[in-house]
Amino acid sequence: MADAAAAVPGDPRDGPTVLDSLGEDITRIVYPVTTCMLLVVLLVSLLSSPSAPSPLAASIAATTGGGGVSGGGDDIPTALVTALTFVVAVTAATFLLALLFYLRCTPCLRAYLGFSALSVLLVLGGQVALLLLSRLRLPLDAVSFALLLPNAAGALALAALAPASVPIALHQAALVAIAVLTAFWFTLLPEWTTWALLVAMAIYDLAAVLLPGGPLRVLLRLAIERNEEIPALVYEARPVDPRHGRNWRLWREGGQPGASSTTVEVIGEVLGRNLDCNSGYSSSPQVHEVATSAGDANNSRPRATLAAALSSADSSIAQAEEVPVLQEHRVAVAEMRVPLIQPHPERYGEEEEDEDGIGLSSSGAIKLGLGDFIFYSVLVGRAAMYDYMTVYACYLAIIAGLGITLLLLAFFRKALPALPVSITLGVVFYVLTRTLLEEFVVQCSTNLLMF
């Protein structure tokens, strides 16, 4: 028996079954998203003060005679106005990016990416490090700190921007670090503003990728026409084992050339896919550019979206042996950026390259934009400010949304935004947990009644 987990001796004829590596693509994207959310929740629990105490904490505090902390609320109109301003700024910046890409100003975009990654790591990373040092009372003198921080920031920024020259683990860790720091910064916004912002970004993502005039769709079309990749920050899961890719190709060639795909093929595509195994593709030189204008009230923050060109990949897969190069270009994912403008003038500005949306890379691994990482973690971090029960519920909702988006990606075979489904499910589960579930569970477990 091939699987090591079973201690019972089995039929020696059984080789590795289909269960061994199915779904590996998805878990390779679920683990980093989980890590990012976990780090943000840890940072939030260590560093932030709670917005409103949950019933259990309040009841325990009341029995001990401690005073409860009342969260300062901000009002809804301000939140809506802020969110709207944010979305308008993001739209304008995406159009600007599309224009720059159209004029082939790649040095501008690269500089922008690099600057923004470095600024996030340096400024935000420094702030978070200082907060952690003071909260955990770790002894570190100023000189060492001044030496360590720029070095670490520079190394991580380099790892994030030049994936070809560093080990892939370091590159992925640097991207996750950038996402964690940005998401933590976002959770510092007031509560209603954060929620309004999340919902607005989800709606914007949906509109920008799917509407005909949407900026991200325009940018994607440009990238596909030119067979270029838009420079942006994107998390790419490690490529899957090439052996399965060969089997996949054989299966596709032997299968029917019809356009209609049964559920089996789609599931197989989503779970066991590796489209490119021997074309010798190495991760494309993704250039990340960042520009920061510290001190400027209006800073733009780029975000990018990914799109998949699956339909062209299917046809080219049939002749995969002859045209490996063409195949990898077809499957290449275009990325787009959308700058975001800081809503509050008193906060220092920074910009980053993030990406939104989900797609496939040339090596067949799933790519997820860094903007998705960030907004998922913002939702979970904000849930952590209330209570951990909401954290677990929102985490499950977001992962479910991610799974649904991947299935939709396999069905529709075109660019899809990754934010709307997950954010919707996350918000719904947060509201349901906070209103319905918490009371029920606290009632039952404080009486030690479980089922």
Binding site: D3, A4, A5, A6, V8, P9, G10, D11, D14, G15, P16, T17, V18, L19, D20, L22, G23, E24, T27, V30, L56, A57, I60, T64, N247, W248, L250, W251, G254, G255, T263, V264, I267, G268, L271, G272, D387, Y388, Y392, A393, L396, A397, I399, A400, G403, L432, L436, L437, E439, F440, V441, Q443, C444, S445, T446, N447, L448, L449, M450, F451
Partner: protein, 250 residues
């Protein structure tokens, strides 16, 4: 009582789940996805349940029969969820077998099916432990501990961690028994699973009595051990039958 105590309680509730995850589930990505989806199912069933019961809360402390009705409805709903999960699993099994045929790999073996049911049960158990124990464990990381009036000999966190451990074992292994029973269409095993679940849940009613948790918690752990032993018997029998059948086929 400090971070160490909090971590200790969390490990009491979830330690076996971690080792099962690291040793068995994490090796096959599909099992990780099964675990996540079964956790989601359990959460949805819990939300539906709390939606139904929201109007009747908070329950006055004297009326234990209200709690009994609550427990009976909860167990009924969760067993219904298990049936739905089984139906979805059958559909997924057909699709996987068809997919395996197309890429000319062997179909799902019996061990694979048992592993999937293990991952499903573990998902249920982990969801239970997380929502009923872990989410309330946050104050345990602080400086003091907490006692409930009716259970003055054990810290509240310890009692809930032990109960969560018991239920984790029960959920995980009764899922294996249930899937085997639905597969082989054995009525007696199919009845055993809801009965065990109901018995364990009703046993926690003992905790309502003053000092009852000292009796209820060990009884629940005994129940969990019984479930484990029964599942071991069922799995061994099934696997040896399967092996004999394959040897006879050769």
């Amino acid at each position: 009582m400090t971070v160490a105590a909090g971590l200790g309680y969390a490990l009491i509730a979830l330690g076996p789940a971690f080792s099962l995850f690291a040793g068995v589930v994490a090796r096959k990505p599909f099992l990780v996805l099964t675990l996540l989806s079964s956790t989601l199912f359990w959460l949805i069933s819990l939300i539906v349940l709390s939606g139904i019961w929201r109007g009747f809360l908070p329950i006055k402390s004297g009326t234990w029969w209200a709690y009994a009705i609550l427990i009976i409805t909860s167990v009924a709903l969760q067993e219904g969820t298990r049936l739905v999960f089984w139906r979805l699993y059958k559909k997924m099994e057909e699709m996987l077998d068809a997919f395996a045929d197309r890429i000319s790999k062997p179909r799902l073996s019996l061990t694979d099916k048992m592993l999937i049911s293990l991952a499903g049960g573990l998902g249920h158990g982990v969801a239970h432990a997380v929502f009923f124990c872990l989410s309330l464990l946050t104050p345990a990381f602080g400086r003091a501990t907490f006692y409930v009036e009716r259970c003055s000999k054990m810290p509240f966190f310890l009692a809930s961690a032990l109960i969560a451990l018991g239920f984790l074992v029960i959920h995980t292994f009764s899922m294996i028994i249930a899937f085997n029973a639905y597969d082989e269409k054995k009525k007696c095993d199919q009845i055993v699973v809801p009965v065990v679940h109901l018995a364990a849940a009703v046993m926690t009613l003992v905790n309502l009595a003053p000092g009852g948790c000292l009796i209820g918690t060990p009884l629940l752990l005994v129940m969990a051990a019984l479930t484990l032993q029964y599942c071991w018997r069922v799995a061994c029998r099934r696997l040896t039958e399967h092996q004999h059948r394959q040897l006879n086929d050769n």
